[in-house]
């Protein structure tokens, strides 16, 4: 009833090619953006509401990391989900982005913040191309190992060469103040809006990209590279472009991670665990899906918080103190079990569940 595209005729090419061809999708997307851009910030400055909900915590503890991880997952999804090149080096590219943005701000005084973010992304893209070169010869697990080389090498280099961290001890950097066009993003809400704007723009760009010729070339290479080559897709260019754009997204995500989320980062923070976390996001969210990157990021960011909260309420409810190791180990177990569960039950991830729900919704309430 609500979700039915019957009667929506598309009479021009422009209408046929729009991002959300179904009107209801469009409305939902716009409502969602309105909610994120307007309702959340307005609610957080409403007097009275902030006594019920701790907005500062929600901004800096949940929403900002969610958006940043979604951006990184988006980058990995472009590479792994769309172009089919398994990468375990996401965190390395994020690290490149973070340290590049820091150094650009440090060494080129007066460079606009946004420009340094974009340049950081470009630098990450260049690094991505270098470590993507093996993909021209190898694929699958072998390629995963090649990206592991990126992971270890980048973290090592950032720690080893003091220049990257302006000779601070053990490579810790403290990001510069987030000021764009003279406007200081100094509260969690402002930072949230900035991150949201960047992520929304880049997500729309990604959605646009994957349905364009380059996106279709990626998918062709992913599904069968020989066939793709036969129909005239330049394999080398396509793969390297996937690495470049994916690393660009990860680089910007890394810069935001340092500037808008943590403020202080060290190379060790961008370790293999972080790479795996982003990988899990796209597994659970759905490989080859823009929406999936967001769903997966939400899931992975929220799950530990949820587990912590429930452990806390169990402690309060039963009046017993759980050993500190217990919760973290249980988190590990639940994490692992969930990943296996998702792979068994729905290998295509949360995005697929959403799709099934949509198909059901089209027939609802008259299934015949």
């Amino acid at each position: 009833m609500l979700y039915r595209e019957a009667g929506q005729f598309r009479t021009t090419y422009a209408e046929d090619q729009q991002l959300f061809p179904i009107r209801q999708d469009r409305i939902v997307a716009i409502l969602f953006l309105l909610f994120a851009f307007l309702v959340v910030p307005i609610a957080s400055v409403m007097p009275g509401l902030d006594r019920m909900i701790d907005f500062q915590y929600w901004y800096s503890g949940v929403l900002i990391p969610f958006l940043i991880f979604a951006l990184a997952a988006l980058g990995l999804n472009i590479l792994t989900g769309y172009a089919g090149q398994l990468s375990l080096g996401t965190a390395a590219f994020m690290a490149v982005g973070a340290f590049a943005a820091y150094n650009l701000e440090l060494r080129l005084p007066g460079i606009p913040m946004l420009a340094s973010f974009i340049l950081a992304g470009v630098i990450a893209a260049l690094v991505g191309i270098v470590f993507g070169l093996p993909s021209l010869r190898i694929k699958g697990f072998y390629l995963a190992v090649a990206t592991l080389a990126a992971q270890f090498f980048v973290v090592w280099a950032l720690q080893k060469f003091g220049w990257f961290s302006n000779y601070s001890t053990s490579g810790v950097i403290t990001s510069q103040k987030l000021v764009i066009f003279g406007y200081a993003f100094d509260t969690p809400m402002k930072r949230y809006l900035l991150v949201l704007a960047i992520v929304a723009l880049m997500a729309l760009a990604a959605k646009n990209m994957v349905r364009s010729s380059i996106g279709r070339a990626w998918m062709a290479v992913r599904d069968m590279d020989v066939a793709a080559a036969v129909v005239g897709i330049p394999i080398m260019k396509t793969k390297l472009l996937a690495f470049a754009i994916s690393s660009f997204y990860c680089g910007v995500a890394g810069a935001l991670y340092a500037f808008a989320y943590l403020g202080t980062v060290e190379p060790e923070g961008f370790n293999l665990d972080l790479s795996f976390r982003v990988l899990f996001m796209i597994i659970i969210g759905g490989m080859g899906s823009i929406l999936g990157s967001f769903l997966g990021a939400a899931f992975i960011v929220l799950l530990p918080i949820f587990l912590d909260l429930s452990a806390g309420s169990i402690e309060r409810g039963f009046g017993l103190a759980l050993p500190s190791g217990l919760v973290s180990n249980l988190t590990l177990i639940i994490f692992g079990a969930l990943i296996v569960f998702f792979l068994v039950v729905e290998p295509l991830g949360l995005a697929r569940i959403w799709q099934i729900a949509k198909e059901k919704l089209r027939l609802w309430p008259f299934p015949h």
């Binding site: 398994l86 093996p134 993909s135 021209l136 010869r137 190898i138 694929k139 699958g140 697990f141 072998y142 995963a144 190992v145 090649a146 592991l148 080389a149 270890f152 090498f153 090592w156 720690q159 080893k160 060469f161 590279d225 020989v226 080559a229 394999i235 293999l272 795996f276 990988l279 899990f280 597994i283 190791g325 217990l326 180990n329 249980l330 988190t331 590990l332 177990i333 639940i334 994490f335 692992g336 079990a337 969930l338 990943i339 296996v340 792979l343 068994v344 290998p347």
Partner: protein, 298 residues
């Protein structure tokens, strides 16, 4: 020159330990085409279980036997819960499932035995052998020699198992072609359980040796990562490759640390050198030293 040989031999002996980890990977990959990322976690789990039982007062052999039982249970559970529902899925899905398994095993291991570092004493001293250091001036640890002896025995036993026994031949048949193996009446499920048990056994041996050397601790799980370049050098499907690859990685990373580090700005290149070596190697021989040659285009 003598120093060179000392570094080389030390590296080779460390490489034997890498080979042991890689061996577990190769076994499972050969028989089921699953790249088992959880091997490192299995090493950790096995060693921790073994130490845990010893601390509870079990004698050495009983503890080993009990840990072996734990690994058998793990193999059955893995086959039933993870592998069977994922039959016919792409390799990459199975790989990711084993990453999930890794987290699960790590959680269970620490939950049941605690997270503190434990010492494990196998009764082999980790000290230089007098006879060699007197005659050649090189210090070579007794422990390393025993470890490589154990590795050699293990490889010999596995080679016999794979080539001479009925189960071993069935394993190779499954590795070659799942459907053909099924058609001649080999039970896939049984084969998978068997191979995971064997991998669990290898993990136990590895865990005991590494644990005796560095203490039984969470860092054991990172061994899985060290084994990856070994696998690439040696090829995913070859037991011999795992051994040779391990030796190359062990020797080259020690030599690089000693002789190359000063050109790239100091120590610590051990952490990534094997990967870069494997990477360069891949560009020349994508299937590894002993891997099966696949003719495909990339």
């Amino acid at each position: 020159m003598q120093f060179f040989f000392e570094v080389l031999i030390g590296g080779l002996l460390a490489g034997v330990m890498y080979s042991l980890v890689a061996l577990g990977f190769v076994l499972i990959y050969k028989a089921s085409g699953v790249f088992n990322f959880a091997q490192g976690a299995m090493v950790f789990f096995a060693a921790l279980t073994m130490v845990g039982f010893t601390e509870l007062g079990a004698p050495f052999w009983l503890a080993v036997a009990l840990s072996l039982v734990a690994m058998v249970i793990l193999a059955f559970l893995t086959e039933r819960v993870v592998l069977r529902p994922l039959v016919n899925q792409p390799q990459i899905t199975l790989f990711m499932a084993t990453i999930g398994l890794t987290f699960f095993i790590e959680g269970v291991a620490q939950l049941s035995w605690g997270a503190q570092v434990r010492a494990l004493d196998l009764g082999i001293a980790d000290e230089p052998i007098e006879w060699i250091s007197l005659n050649t001036g090189m210090s070579i640890s007794k422990f390393d020699l025993v470890a490589s002896g154990i590795a050699a025995v293990l490889v010999a036993v596995l080679a016999v198992f794979f080539n001479k026994t009925r189960v071993g031949r069935a394993l190779r048949a499954v590795a070659d072609d799942h459907q053909a193996a099924l058609a001649v009446g080999i039970s896939l499920q049984r084969i998978w359980v068997t191979v995971w048990i064997v991998a669990g056994f290898v993990a136990l041996v590895t865990g005991m040796l590494w644990g005796a050397r560095n203490g039984v601790q969470f860092a054991l799980t990172f061994l899985a990562l060290k084994a990856l370049p070994v696998l690439i050098l040696g090829g995913f499907e070859s037991v011999a490759g795992a051994i040779v690859g391990g030796l190359i990685v062990g020797a080259s990373e020690k030599l690089a640390e000693v002789y190359l580090a000063k050109y790239v700005g100091g120590g610590g290149i051990e952490s990534w050198f094997p990967y870069v070596l494997a990477l360069l190697f891949l560009l020349v021989r994508p299937e590894g030293l002993f891997g099966e040659k696949h003719i495909d285009r990339v």
